[in-house]
């Protein structure tokens, strides 16, 4: 499927990636090429086929529903770009 500039901007918005005006046409060409190539999947008859999201070879065990870690605020904040008194500092969310 051919991807137009508006669709590129929509995908970029969904992906939360800023795209400069000058990049849109090139991205549209690249994404169109990839998605057109992907469309050969329509040649495969998948009527009644169950989607396969994972390939587990064996049944996987459930673990006890208990807290197994926590209390590591310092470790969790160690790599934060901005932190203050045990909290992440983030931009204002509500105007």
């Amino acid at each position: 499927m051919a991807i137009d500039a508006a669709t590129v901007r929509k995908a970029a918005r969904l992906a939360r990636i800023k795209v400069e005006d000058g990049e849109v046409d090139k991205l549209a060409t690249e994404l169109s090429g990839i998605l057109t190539w992907i469309e050969q999947l329509n040649e495969v008859d998948t009527e009644g086929v169950a989607p396969m999201a994972s390939t587990e070879a064996v049944a996987l065990p459930m673990r006890e529903d208990v807290v197994t870690d926590g209390g590591d605020a310092a470790a969790i904040l160690a790599n934060a770009p901005k932190a203050d008194r045990g909290f992440f500092v983030v931009p204002k969310v509500v105007e």
Binding site: L14, L41, E43, A53, T55, A57, L60, N79, P81
Partner: protein, 491 residues
């Protein structure tokens, strides 16, 4: 004696045990080799102090007689593995100076068994690439060159640093990961051995996630037996990864050298790519002959949906990646580029932090999962994935393993395939099928092409049956008698 870095892992472990040299001497030899090979750009972080401290501890344990199975072995670690207190970036700018406060399970298993870390290895950004050219640290240069040429070649990817470190004797072995071929394709392009085990054999905990239903860790090694030794240590059930298989880890090394008489080998006709060099075709025939000579029965099989694996992968992997990479929001770790509001901060951070290929894949992923396209793209791909897995199931009713080429070409020039994303994707045409089906597959060097570049063959096994792969690969390794080494032009 030859240089310590020339040793295989097995040879080094024997030498350490016999106290012919110390773990510190072995680490020092590797550190010196790494320093002399910076032109290859295989390591993105050298950790000499850590290596020497770990080696000293290994020497103490060797002296005390309580050595682990990998005691004193100098290894490299792909930068996708989180290593406690040691910068781990997945070779992306977005992780910046990230220093994990925890250790990945696979690397923790290696250190438990006595291995020594030399440093972190270059790779394609977030393991997205087939040439190691998407790394934020620049490309790795393949130690191999075409005969009579100085043209720099790509080592393959995404584990290009791991493959190069092993091929150039900058580590006895290395950790790697494989989502669509990222262990096996670089193994083929660098004359090394790599195995992607069954999905769930190695814990994914602490490995930076790319496409979680496909990602699997495995070793790159100098020999089949070395790969078996490493895989045993890396594997095992881990309650911290809900997809980790709760099964005993076999002694993979015990399969090396076992007779293969009577095993049935399938040759899938769909792995004959258009425009594939005649040399690869010939090598594949040689591989068949070696296994026949060893008493295997070789039969033709068909995996009719093979050609659809790559397009299905380029929906499923980007979809999972767009989800996994949502965590890089500039809030909790890594890079933050401030914008006027929260959304602009996200968008500016991710535009600055992700390279072109990662941006492309995350956008494709977001698109194929979006309302109106989910069924047509994502669900369709999951259904085709089932057909591909069914093809393998049918084949494994008739055969014990499959033999194919690993990659459609030998090493290519840096920059040769970067202009066209699709051309790069085609590198994984023979490797991506097993990721979709969750099966184990091993690549081993089988010969050289007319330019003197290595070519690999791939063995694909039943789920949980890595043992048979080691058994067959060791027979083929002996028959191939692959002794070629790259000229050390980088020294």
């Amino acid at each position: 004696m030859a240089e310590l870095t020339d040793l295989t892992l097995k040879g080094a472990l024997e030498g350490l045990k016999a106290r012919r040299f110390s773990a510190v001497e072995l680490a020092q030899a590797h550190l010196a080799a790494i320093e002399g090979a910076r032109a290859l750009n295989a390591y993105v972080l050298e950790t000499p102090e850590k290596a020497l401290a770990m080696a000293q501890a290994s020497d103490a344990r060797l002296k005390a007689g309580d050595a682990g199975p990998l005691e004193g072995a100098s290894l490299g670690v792909k930068d996708l593995f989180c290593t406690e207190g040691v910068r781990s970036t997945a070779c992306s700018k977005i992780l910046g100076d990230f220093k994990p406060t925890y250790e990945s399970t696979v690397t923790a298993n290696l250190w438990r068994d006595g291995a020594v870390m030399l440093g972190k290895l270059n790779m394609d950004e977030f393991a997205m690439g087939s040439s190691n050219e998407t790394s934020a640290f620049g490309p790795v240069v393949n130690p191999w060159r075409s005969r009579g040429s100085n043209r720099p070649l790509a080592p393959g990817g995404s584990s290009g640093g791991s493959a190069t470190a092993v091929a150039a004797n900058l580590a006895l072995g290395a950790t790697a990961t494989d989502t669509g071929g990222s262990i096996r394709q670089p193994a083929s392009l660098t004359g090394t051995v790599g195995i992607k085990p069954t999905y769930g054999r190695c814990s994914r905990w602490g490995i930076v996630a790319f496409a979680s239903s496909l990602d699997q860790a495995g070793p790159l090694a100098k020999t089949v037996e070395d790969a078996a030794i490493l895989l045993r240590s890396m594997s095992g059930h881990d309650p911290k990864d809900s997809t980790s298989i709760p099964a005993e880890v076999p002694d993979f090394q015990s399969f090396v050298g076992k007779p293969v008489k009577g095993l049935r080998i399938g040759v899938p006709k769909e792995y004959r790519a258009d425009g594939m060099p005649a040399e690869i075709e010939q090598l594949w025939a040689d591989g068949v002959a070696w296994l026949k000579d060893a008493g295997c029965e070789v039969v033709d099989v068909s995996l009719p949906h093979t050609k659809y694996a790559l397009p299905a992968y380029y929906i499923i992997a980007p979809a999972e990646a767009s989800s996994n990479l949502a965590r890089y929001d500039g809030m909790r770790f890594g890079l933050r580029v401030d914008g006027d509001n929260l959304t602009e901060t996200y968008e500016a951070t991710r535009a600055a932090g992700f390279g072109a290929e990662v941006r492309r894949r995350v956008m494709i992923g977001a698109y194929v999962l979006s309302a109106g396209y989910y069924d047509a793209y994502y669900l369709k791909a999951l259904k085709v994935r089932r057909k591909i897995a069914d093809d393998f199931d049918a084949a494994f009713e008739k055969v014990d393993a499959l033999l194919t080429p690993t990659a459609p070409s030998a090493a290519f020039g840096l920059g040769e395939n970067t202009a066209d994303p699709l051309a790069m994707y085609l590198n994984d045409v023979f490797t991506v099928t097993v990721n979709l089906a969750g099966l184990p597959a091993l690549s081993l060097p089988a010969g050289l092409d007319a330019q003197g570049l290595p070519l690999g063959l791939q063995l694909i096994g039943r789920s949980m049956d890595e043992g048979t792969l080691f058994q067959l690969a060791s027979v083929m390794e002996k028959a191939a008698d692959f002794r070629a080494r790259p000229e050390p032009w980088w020294r």
